[in-house]
């Protein structure tokens, strides 16, 4: 380092290079990674940005039906749930020092030619299930299998749970994640996500 900074005439340029380096690193960090499972065909999207990690993994209609029928839902109810776009959603605090908080009510999805949409949240579902007289044990399983609506993570904390989006199976969309660090809102966009289709995973 001492060799590099012996000539201070270079310092402004070095600062510029540093700023550009930061920009390059930031752009690389915010890139959406997309993977397709060779056996099942199930797709996963992953993004790491500003100390937060997001993963969305398709949950197929068959998987959703199987999971909730095994926990006391009837066929009509699981078919209704499985008609929605469902993802296993993982959020991680990957920073080294900061706590983060987020609320799924702040997140928005964007489909071409449609207005931005909000996620269908756990409480929305629970209200519908109660009107349909779904049994309490099934409701408990449902409630805790969904991604928490609001959460605060310390360093290393993470959660995994389902999120749902009221759009046709097979739809393609972008999802804007928002989270707070020290009261300041941050955002990142996960791009070109596709809902599982009616036959995904078969």
């Amino acid at each position: 380092m001492s060799l590099i900074y012996t000539n201070f005439n270079y310092l402004p340029n070095t600062i510029c290079a540093f700023v550009l380096g930061c920009a390059v690193m930031s752009a690389v960090a915010a890139e959406t990674k997309h993977e397709v499972n060779a056996e099942s065909g199930i797709q996963t999207w992953e993004l790491h940005d500003q100390g937060v990690g997001f993963t969305l993994m398709q949950i197929t209609p068959d998987q959703a039906r199987g999971f909730f029928m095994a926990r006391g839902f009837d066929r009509e109810a699981v078919d209704y749930y499985a008609s929605h776009c469902v993802f296993m959603t993982i959020v991680r605090n990957e920073s080294v020092a900061e706590s983060i908080s987020y609320n799924l009510a702040d997140w928005r999805f964007y489909r071409e030619n449609y207005k931005p949409g909000k996620l269908k949240l756990k409480d929305d579902w629970l209200n519908e299930w109660r009107q349909l007289k779904v049994a309490e044990p099934a409701l408990i399983a449902f409630e805790w299998s969904q991604h928490p609506t609001a959460q605060t993570f310390e360093v290393g904390d993470w959660n995994q749970g389902m999120t749902t989006y009221a759009m046709p199976l097979g739809s393609i969309f972008n999802l804007k994640f928002l989270w707070k660090v020290n009261g300041v809102m941050h955002e990142a966009m996960l791009k070109d996500i596709q809902c599982a289709s009616a036959t995904s995973g078969r």
Binding site: V19, R92, W158
Partner: protein, 189 residues
């Protein structure tokens, strides 16, 4: 930025130096983790609130009241068999139990709203098989009384039954860093 681009005629060495500088600065702010494993440490709850009491049955029908464990350090893990990180971390809790055997330390794994058959089928597949009490919160009333937003969530209580540490999401509980934190609590008399 335009000015930077205009003056960006520095030798490649200086660009490299900037990345070195960037590397040196990373620990001071939120940065990407090198890998997906979460930080193996327990978050300290500064306020140390009193943990809500519970009275729950284990797999043998034996009742356990949390407040009966006052005087010991207690780990309380909320979990369910359908929760993948809960399943993954369970063997590490048993290894922690083994590592701290003979100390004033106790574990309760609180299962959320599942039945005996489901839990028994799952624990039979584990290596090592859990030897600590797995208790059943059949109506999730205990879960709702605790500050839990998602599964798994794990708490470590001091000898007075106060919440000292909390972690959200799966961990390797026999990790040396976590063991050291719990041993530190056990050593406080």
């Amino acid at each position: 930025m335009k000015q930077c681009l205009k003056t960006f005629n520095v030798p490649v060495l200086h660009l490299a130096a900037s990345f070195v500088l960037l590397g040196l600065m990373l620990p001071s702010g939120p940065v990407l983790a090198a890998e997906k494993m979460p930080a193996q440490a327990l978050f300290e709850v500064a306020a140390r609130p009193q943990a809500p009491d519970f009275l729950l049955e284990d797999m043998d029908g034996k009742k356990h009241r949390l407040s009966d464990s006052h005087g010991k350090v207690v780990l309380v893990n909320f979990w369910a068999t359908w929760c993948p990180p809960c399943r993954r971390e369970m063997p590490s809790i048993e290894r922690l139990s083994h590592a701290l055997k003979g100390t004033d330390f106790e574990i309760f794994a609180v299962n959320v709203a599942e039945n005996l058959d489901t839990v028994f089928s799952f624990t039979g597949t584990l290596d090592p098989v859990p030897t600590f009490p797995i208790v059943f919160d059949t109506d999730s009333s205990v879960l709702k009384a605790w500050p839990v937003m998602g599964l798994p969530t794990t708490f470590v209580l001091d000898r007075q039954g106060r919440i000292v540490y909390r972690v959200v999401g799966g961990r390797e509980f026999d990790d040396p860093a976590i063991q050291a934190q719990i041993r530190g609590l056990i050593d406080q008399h």
